[in-house]
Amino acid sequence: MAPRKPAARAATAAAAPATFTKEEDFLAYREMLLIRRFEEKAGQMYGMGLIGGFCHLYIGQEAVVVGMQMAMQPGDQVITGYRDHGHMLATGMEAGGVMAELTGRRGGYSKGKGGSMHMFSIEKQFFGGHGIVGAQVSLGTGLAFADRYKGNGAVSVTYFGDGAANQGQVYESFNMAELWKLPVVYVIENNKYAMGTSVTRSSAQTDFSKRGTSFNIPGEQVDGMDVRAVRTAGERALAFAREGNGPYILEMQTYRYRGHSMSDPAKYRSKEEVQKMRTEHDPIEQVRARLLNAHAASEEELKKIDGEIREIVNAAADFASHDPEPDPAELYTDVLR
């Protein structure tokens, strides 16, 4: 096997992200806002007792999935862990179906049997939604195995967090992915905290882009709060994997505003830290500012989008609140095929 060129490593200090056209910024704004509003609504419904169990919100990390989705091609697969609502909405899954799954109703993507952490859509090539930290990394590598086996030209985009990055099977997967040159892009969403443990307290190597170094997998750190930077890096990584060069790691430096789950009071960090990220780095505000200033969009145009998004989210919440629970007969269906 030819040694890997170190070129990709040099990309760590990436050049300024490509500028977006007005249409691209509008698209990114719309998609990110949908996730933000959806998650806010989910938080509200959790508080009302309509959503049970665990509910991990994606607020603050929207630019990661939206930027990656803008870089992907039809047929590429997505798989992630338990903080998955944003990924589903980004792939185009219906807000109503996702919300109805959160409320455990028959119209949910898993007929109410999966819940927040376990949803799938073969149509959108979204393979879950996995509740065991790190398990999706082996599974996503398996999706890439299937892509190579079939020769379909698709790439598996496998998301996991800074916490999952310490799991053993991640490295077992890295090894096989590089050994077999599988078309997989590992997107490490470094939101700084694995539940309540900061990366500096849990990780000997906090530069996650280097986590593939011993397997010769190139990696780069990306400003995960800037949707343009995400898309640019995503395009580079996807092209690399699609051309048969093997896996690629993108460390998305991002931040979650909310607790790990709804039941997390987040006492492991200061309110000031969160506030600083919100005011200085918010992914949606960045795009909003660009639209208003650089693209000369009007407040009315943005208000119109805001209104449309609220309508989608309210309709989803309404559906998820009124859709009936699964028929009791569903208890014994889908155990085996």
């Binding site: 697969q77 798989i79 949910g108 993507y109 898993s110 007929k111 109410g112 049997k113 999966g114 376990h118 949803m119 799938f120 859509s121 073969i122 393979f127 879950g128 939604g129 996995h130 509740g131 065991i132 398990a135 990394v137 082996s138 599974l139 996503g140 590598t141 398996g142 999706l143 890439a144 195995f145 299937a146 892509d147 086996y149 079939k150 598996s156 053993g168 099977q169 077992e172 997967s173 090894n175 096989m176 050994l179 077999w180 269906t333 889908d334 155990v335 085996l336 095929r337």
Partner: protein, 455 residues
């Protein structure tokens, strides 16, 4: 002082081998470490090295001899100037034989192995020709046939390709199907089990070989949380047509970490099917069914049974139904329920019991989950008595499940409590005598039958 060179065992379960070639000839001087001969088993070809120095005085087993039993003297090494004819050539056989029995408790079962129970499986048409083959060959043929039939089927695992399988189950598959479909993995069970499940999510049909199921404990999260549960959790959208297979249970003299029976573990999990065949015919027909099954199937083989021969129907496409037990021997006095290697105890016990006038009906479960409870209940309705036989541990074992099912569905038919014959409730010891004690025995089965028949 003449020294016997004995036919060596090359694996914990080897019972015999072929002496293919003498590298040294009579009269040659040999030093410790010299290659004396080449021997071959159904798994591998190996060299026999001298462990003593001297002159190869006499070759007792000529090259080309087939099926030489382990511990048979194959040559005599003599000291310089010693007369080989003066050395007691055949005499050492007896002292050698004693440790041989102790070293391989499985050897006792071996001679009885090539018994093919004559009952026609209802799935086999009358007049079908049968061929004798080992469980090992049957498993390989099943995989090869299914790989020819369906391009989405592939096999992955440690040493499955170039090495031809740690237990030679995948022998020849690399040559026929190439390295795209026969894939050597790193030693990374958790990872490659997950890769297999992911590939199955995407529509492929992986056969994931674990070198032994002991190592699958590293991967059990992916087997249960990803393979078994995703169909349900996705509301039926995402499924995994995948087979996890490999040897399960005790081999011989490999101690606790390599000698566990996982039948009960996997049978506890909804979303899995669990198959544990005894005969070669069932191994073939059920493995083909497992590969075609759209669900994850745990296919539990047994290392000791790999080399056992059975009659297998010669059919182009012999597929057996998963979830159906087989009456291996009809009887009216007591029902013995077993599976996998447990069948060797059950069948031998039934033979012995017949001599005492007790006709045991022996049921081979073949599939642990879904369990064919109706066949067990129907038998117990006839016999009124039941003994279960398995190598696994007693608590929450397969036998415990059968007892519970019979309480529920055949209570009024029972004339005695159902007894379980199981492996003892200890980690598997290494010492030969303790290992033998830890495993069930034919005597245990007979004793249990006497207890339930009050004879």
């Amino acid at each position: 002082m003449a020294i016997d060179v004995l036919m060596p065992a090359l694996s914990p379960t080897m019972e015999k081998g072929n002496l293919t070639k003498w590298v040294k000839q009579e009269g040659d001087t040999v030093k410790s470490g010299d290659v004396l001969a080449e021997i071959e088993t159904d798994k591998a070809t190996m060299e026999v090295e001298a462990v003593d120095e001297g002159i190869l005085g006499k070759i007792l087993v000529p090259e080309g001899t087939q099926d030489v039993a382990v511990n048979t003297p194959i040559a005599i090494i003599v000291a310089e100037g010693e007369d080989v004819n003066a050395a007691p050539a055949a005499a050492p056989v007896a002292p050698v034989a004693a440790p041989a029995v102790a070293a391989a408790p499985v050897a006792a079962a071996a001679p009885a192995a090539p018994v093919a129970v004559a009952h026609a499986d209802p799935e086999v048409p009358a007049g079908t020709e049968y061929v004798t083959m080992t469980v090992r060959e049957a498993l390989r043929d099943a995989m090869a046939e299914e790989m020819r039939r369906d391009g989405d089927v592939f096999v992955m695992g440690e040493e499955v390709a170039e090495y031809q399988g740690a237990y030679k189950i995948t022998q020849g598959l690399l040559q026929e199907f190439g390295d795209r479909r026969v894939i050597d993995t790193p030693i990374t069970e958790h990872g490659f089990a997950g890769v297999g499940v992911g590939a199955a999510f995407a529509g492929l049909k992986p056969i994931v070989e674990f070198m032994t199921f002991n190592f699958a404990m590293q991967a059990i999260d992916q087997i249960i949380n990803s393979a078994a549960k995703t169909h349900y959790m996705s509301g039926g959208q995402v499924s995994s047509s995948i087979v996890f297979r490999g040897p399960n249970g005790a081999a011989a003299r490999v101690a606790a970490q390599h000698s566990q029976d996982y039948s009960a573990w996997y049978s506890n999990v909804p979303g899995l099917k669990v198959v544990a065949p005894y005969s070669a015919a069932d191994a073939k027909g059920l493995l083909k069914a497992a590969i075609r099954d759209p669900n994850p199937v745990i296919f539990l083989e047994n290392e000791i049974l790999y080399g056992h021969s059975f009659e297998v129907p010669k059919l182009d496409d012999f597929v057996l139904p998963i979830g159906k037990a087989r009456i291996a021997r009809p009887g009216k006095d007591v029902t013995l329920v077993s599976f996998s290697i447990g069948m060797t105890y059950a069948l031998k016990a039934a033979d012995e019991l017949a001599k005492q006038g007790i006709e045991a009906e022996v049921i081979d479960l073949r599939t642990i989950r879904p369990m064919d409870v109706p066949t067990i209940v129907a038998s117990v309705q006839k016999t009124g008595r039941c003994v279960t036989v398995e190598e696994g541990w007693p608590q929450s074992g397969v036998g415990a499940e059968i007892v519970a099912q019979l309480m529920d569905k055949a209570f009024d038919y029972l004339d005695a409590p159902v007894l379980r014959v199981t492996g003892k409730d200890v980690p598997m010891p290494y010492a030969a005598n303790l290992e033998k004690l830890a495993l069930p025995s034919v005597a245990d089965v007979i004793e249990a039958v006497h207890a339930v028949t009050y004879r």
